[in-house]
């Protein structure tokens, strides 16, 4: 079986599975306050009308540059932030408006791996307690059994059992990220949002952590929303990839289609920027002009038209919807 067949088989098998997460027209605005009484004078549209679905067992990658709203999207889906509009359906249940203790209960099924391994672990807690805490939040457990369970979890993520008795400051960045992964796994969640889990790590450690995530996905049938700004990392991890720009999802396609045939001009520019290890291949580099506009005052029409090399007159007037131009390949561009 060739690699291509293998990928095709995985795509087919995923296609048959049910939708785990359905995000519809999600909007998250940060209010900008000013003046004496903290009036709301504007909004930072961090996430502006984003829709996608994730099937069980699938990895959806989200890429985009800093400040494009990919982390905000992830946090809003986990309801760590309050969505301004839209709907989040998890296993068909609407979790958009759930709050308080009901939200606390619902959180059992979706966990997060954080970006900064140095800030995401409580320095005052023993590693064993860090990993036990999510379990103890939901269940009463026998102490010894729990300790054994956590030790085996530590072994599973590639840490020694003795790590149980240590504190986070005694570990390296990569090891801390493994602790963070173990904490996310402790509840056996259905969905894991990985918010740039390797961007703070050394390149040599990155691949170890990425492979660990992949192995765990196979073993526990996990579903990932994988957020990153590194295109090669996303390519390695994802089944499908969404490209975000200024709070909008501009392109959503399978891993293969997106890298082979990017349709949106922004995606084309991003992909042309991936370094090519083979120097014999001459690649044309698309260099975008200008800066990302402020999300507080986004441009009218297509958010990308101010920097788009192929912009037309209509682009500044009409906002293109995300539509399926080829099977499984969605793009928000008026060219198609």
């Amino acid at each position: 079986m060739t690699t291509r067949d293998f990928i095709q088989e995985r795509i087919d098998s995923l296609e048959s599975r049910e939708v785990l997460l359905d995000v519809q027209n999600l909007k998250t605005y940060y209010p900008v306050t000013g003046g004496f009484f903290k009036r709301v004078v504007g909004n930072v549209k961090a996430v502006d009308d984003v829709s996608f679905t994730i099937r069980r067992g699938e990895t959806l990658g989200l890429v985009g540059e800093s400040g494009c709203g990919k982390s905000t999207t992830g946090r809003t889906i986990l309801r760590l932030l309050k969505p301004t509009g839209g709907k989040i359906l998890f296993e068909g249940k609407d979790i958009t408006k759930v709050s308080g203790s009901k939200l606390q209960k619902a959180r059992r099924d979706f966990q997060m791996v954080f970006q900064d391994p140095y800030a995401s672990l409580n320095p005052m807690q023993m590693v064993g307690d860090i990993i036990a805490e999510p379990i103890l939040n939901y269940e009463k457990r026998n102490k010894q059994e729990l300790e054994q369970e956590i030790k085996s979890l530590l072994t599973r993520v590639g840490l020694p059992e003795e790590a149980y008795y240590k504190y986070a400051h005694e570990f390296s960045g990569g090891q801390r990220q493994r602790i963070g992964i173990a904490r996310a796994l402790a509840l056996n969640p259905k969905l894991i949002v990985a918010d740039e889990p390797v961007s703070a790590l050394d390149v040599s450690v990155q691949s170890q952590v990425l492979n660990l995530l992949k192995d765990l996905q196979k073993e526990f049938d996990l579903t990932y929303l994988f957020i990153a700004h590194d295109l090669s990392v996303v390519k390695h991890m994802s089944d499908r990839i969404g490209v975000m720009y200024l709070g909008n999802l501009v392109e959503l396609a399978s891993n293969r289609d997106l890298y082979r045939e990017p349709l949106h001009p922004y995606t084309q520019a991003l992909i042309s920027a991936i370094p090519e290890p083979n120097t014999a291949i001459k690649k044309e580099r698309i260099v975008l002009q200008g800066d990302v506009p402020s999300p507080q005052n986004p441009p009218s029409g297509c958010p990308f038209h101010t920097r788009c090399p192929m912009a037309m007159d209509i682009c500044s007037k009409e906002k293109p919807p995300l539509k399926e131009v080829r099977p499984g390949h969605h793009v928000a561009c008026l060219l198609y």
Partner: protein, 305 residues
């Protein structure tokens, strides 16, 4: 580092030192802070055991009662530190005065720290309208005319409630503003860390996040602030008693004993009456401040000592 020793002599998994244990080790190595701690312990023990240690036990001659027969006696074999202008043994009053001064200092500090931490952490963690309301209230408390309030309350409640507890309550209720602001600012900085978000995402309630994740990480600041407040509370008690608005004159306290020094005759000619309390107050406050400094060093993970 502790981990290197763990590796060499490892038989069964050894527990690493918790941040608190590391701080304790550092504190024990700090000589000045340890000497101060010992001094404070001695003062506390003497105060607690005053009824057994004091040279002149009540009722005769009663520490609170005037004894005309033995006024203004210079230190001698019978009265080691002499007697005051009412004929009461200074050393006995010093021992009993410690009870009051330390009790006021400790209780008021406990009240101030508790109120300040509760208000500050709630305001800092929840933010928004909760924060605005609580902090405006804190501003109000901070700007309250302290002395006027103490005098008025003392007068109003005189005879109804024990004067000592009136003083403790008044000091406590009026002094937590600074702690609340400090804790709020610390909580604001600390809650930006991803582990707070992580705690929420693993299903902790907001109260549990404050209790188990935020407070342990701002506790070092609170403890250090607490020792400094303890010192200043003893000063406040002394100052108020000196002015006559603090502990009732019948109860001996270090501040009360000092107040006899407002007579020029006593100040100039009878130093044995006011020197001992002045010295003990100064040494106690110095020691508490040294302990505070020591704790600050010990609890700061970046300090080497």
């Amino acid at each position: 580092m502790a981990s290197s020793t763990t590796i060499t002599q490892q038989k069964k998994p050894e527990r690493s030192l918790s941040p608190w244990q590391i701080a304790r080790k550092k504190f024990l190595r700090n000589k000045l802070a340890m000497a101060s701690t010992i001094f404070i312990i001695i003062v506390t023990v003497i105060s607690l055991l005053a009824p057994f240690l004091a040279p002149y036990l009540s009722p005769n001659p009663d520490i609170t009662k005037v004894n005309i027969g033995s006024m203004n006696i210079q230190p001698n074999g019978e009265h080691i530190l002499g007697t005051d202008k009412s004929g009461r043994d200074v050393l006995t009053r010093l021992f009993y005065g410690g009870r009051v001064s330390l009790l006021v200092g400790f209780s008021a500090t406990l009240m101030v720290i508790t109120l300040g931490t509760v208000v500050g952490s709630i305001a800092g963690f929840f933010g928004g309208a909760v924060d605005s309301i609580l902090m405006r209230f804190t501003d109000f408390v901070l700007n309250f005319p302290f002395l006027v309030f103490v005098i008025v309350l003392n007068t109003v409640l005189y005879g109804i409630v024990d004067g000592l507890w009136v003083l403790i309550m008044v000091i406590g209720v009026l002094s937590w503003g600074g702690v609340a602001r400090l804790v709020r600012s610390k909580v604001l900085a600390e809650k930006e860390n991803e582990y707070i978000l992580a705690a929420l995402s693993i299903g902790c309630s907001p109260w549990k996040v404050i209790r188990k994740h935020l407070l342990p990480n701002v506790m070092s600041t609170i403890i250090v602030q607490g020792t400094l407040i303890f010192a200043s509370m003893i000063v406040v008690e002394s100052a108020l008693s000196y002015l006559g608005f603090g502990v009732p004159q019948t109860t001996p306290s270090w501040g009360n004993m000092l107040s006899s020094a407002n007579e020029p005759d006593v100040l100039q000619g009878k130093p044995w009456i006011w020197m001992p309390p002045a010295l003990v107050i100064t040494l106690t406050i110095l020691s508490i401040n040294f302990i505070g400094e020591g704790l600050k060093d010990a609890l700061n993970p970046k300090s080497l000592r």
